[in-house]
Symmetry: C2
Amino acid sequence: MNASTKQSFPLFDEAHSAEAVNARIGPNVDPRTREIASAVVRHLHAAVKEIEPTHEEWLAAINFLTNTGHMCSDWRQEFILLSDVLGVSMLVDAINHRRPTQATENTILGPFFVDGLSISDNGTNICRDGKGEPLVVHSRVVDIKGAPISGATIDVWQTNDDGFYDVQQQGIQPEGNLRGKFTSDADGRFWFRSVKPRFYPIPDDGPVGKMLGKLGRHPNRAAHIHFIIEAPGFETVITHIFAPDCPYLQEDTVFGVKESLIGRFEHVEDADAAEKLGFTSPFWSVEQDFVLKPLA
Amino acid sequence: MNASTKQSFPLFDEAHSAEAVNARIGPNVDPRTREIASAVVRHLHAAVKEIEPTHEEWLAAINFLTNTGHMCSDWRQEFILLSDVLGVSMLVDAINHRRPTQATENTILGPFFVDGLSISDNGTNICRDGKGEPLVVHSRVVDIKGAPISGATIDVWQTNDDGFYDVQQQGIQPEGNLRGKFTSDADGRFWFRSVKPRFYPIPDDGPVGKMLGKLGRHPNRAAHIHFIIEAPGFETVITHIFAPDCPYLQEDTVFGVKESLIGRFEHVEDADAAEKLGFTSPFWSVEQDFVLKPLA
C-alpha cells in the first residue's frame, strides 16, 4: 500500500478508546468475529472507564487471569469455574435454551458428566456405596401437550453422601457409583433408586476459590441430581432436580437453581413401602416430570 | 444462621442475571472490592447479552483464556500483551495520568525497561552495535511554566536496527546496547547519540498473535524511543518519541501513539556537523522537550 491508498486510523485517546481499537479490525474479517470482538472491546473499555483501576489494580487483574490460566490442566478447568461463579455459564445456557413456559428448564451441565453408560433396568439402585438416606425417583418424560415420550434416554448422576462424584474419588468410591442411564417406557415413565443428594463445594483451592473468599461468598452448590434427557425429535434437556431443604438452595454458588427445578421431596415413613423398595423406613421419594420441547 | 435471620437471595434468571450475582457479595467485603466486582459482573453480563454466544463460542473464549494463561511464564506475559493490543493498557495509563494540556503525555511502559543503569555523560552514543542510521537527540526538561528542571534523571531505551531490545538478544547484541541514563544540566538540557528507531512486532507466536491474525491486524509497534523522566517534586513521565515517517505510525498495535509524541526528525546533510558528532553524513536529528507536571 502506498500513502494515497493506505487507510488512516484515528489515534487513541481516552474518550474514544474503544472506537480507536475497533477501527483496526481488518476489512476481510468474518462478520461474526467482528461483531464479537467489537462488543468485547466496547464492554471491556466501558468497565475500565467505570472502575478507573489504578496501575496496581490493573496488575492484580493481570495476575488473577494468569494464575487462573496456570491452574487449568487436563483435569481442572479454572476458567469454567470462573464463568460458573460469575453467573456467565448460566447466562449462556439461558440464552441458548429459551423454551415455552411449560417445558422443563435447562441448568448447568457441570464437569462431572460421563458419557457412554450402558442402559440399566428401571428401578436400579445407582447407589453402590450404601451411604446416605435412601431415595426413590419416579419420572415421566412427556411432550408439551402432556403426551408420553417413550424410548427417551435419561442420564442421571450425583455426588455420594460425602459430597463427591465417583470420578473425583477413583479407587475410593465403587466405579460408576451414583450414575445410571435409563429409558422411558411406553407411558414415558422411568424410575430408579438412589440416595438424597447433598450440597458440596466446587473445587475452591485455586484462584476462583480465593476470589469467592474475598467476595464473602461460600463455594457450595445446592444439593441436586443431574439429568440429561434425550429423545429423537425433541430438544435435549440438561437439568437438575434440587433438594428443597438444602441450606444452600437460594445461594447455589453457580446460580443453577430455578424455581421449577426444586423437587417435591417427600419423607416417607411406611415400612411396607420401604420393604418393597429394599429400603429401611423412613426414606425419601420424589416425583418429577420432564417436559420436552419439539425441535423446530 | 437460622431460617429467620438468613438472607434470602433472588434466584438467577436471564433478565436479572447480573443483579442475582452481585446480590451474593458478602456484607463485610471492602467497598472498593465490591465496586470493582459488581462493575465487572454488570459489564460482563451486558457483553454476553449483546453477543449471545453459542455454547461453542463460549467454549472458544474459555479455551482462548486458558491458552493465554498457559503462554505466561517468567519471561512472557501474554495477558499484558492482550491488555496492550485491546487498548486496555493505554486506557488505564490515560485514566491515571490526566495532565494539563502543556505537560508531556504518558504512553505505555512496555516490558523491556531495565532499571538501575549508571549515569552516562551527555552526548554518549548508546548504540554499541554500529547498526542503523545515526541520530542525535537534544532535549530539555522543563516545568509547566517553561522553567528548566536541572538534575532530572532520564532513562532511555530502544530496539536496535533489527527490531530487538538487547534483553531479547542476550549474547547477540552488546550488553546494554541502546540503553542509557542521563541527567539534565543547569538549563534542563540533556543529549545523547543513538540510531533512528524502527518498527518491530510484539511477540506474536502465542494466542494473542493468533487473535490479531483473525482480526486482520498486524503485530507491529510504531518506531519509537522510550523515555522515563524523573525529577523530585514532579510527576514521573513514562513516554516515547515516535519517528514521524514510520509506516505504522497510525496503527501502532498497542495504541501508544499520541500526536504530541511524534518527534520532528530532521534529516541532516552536513558533513561538518556529522564530523563533530562522530557521524557520517547524512544523519538524523530530533529535538524534543519534556514538560513535567508538579506533584499535587
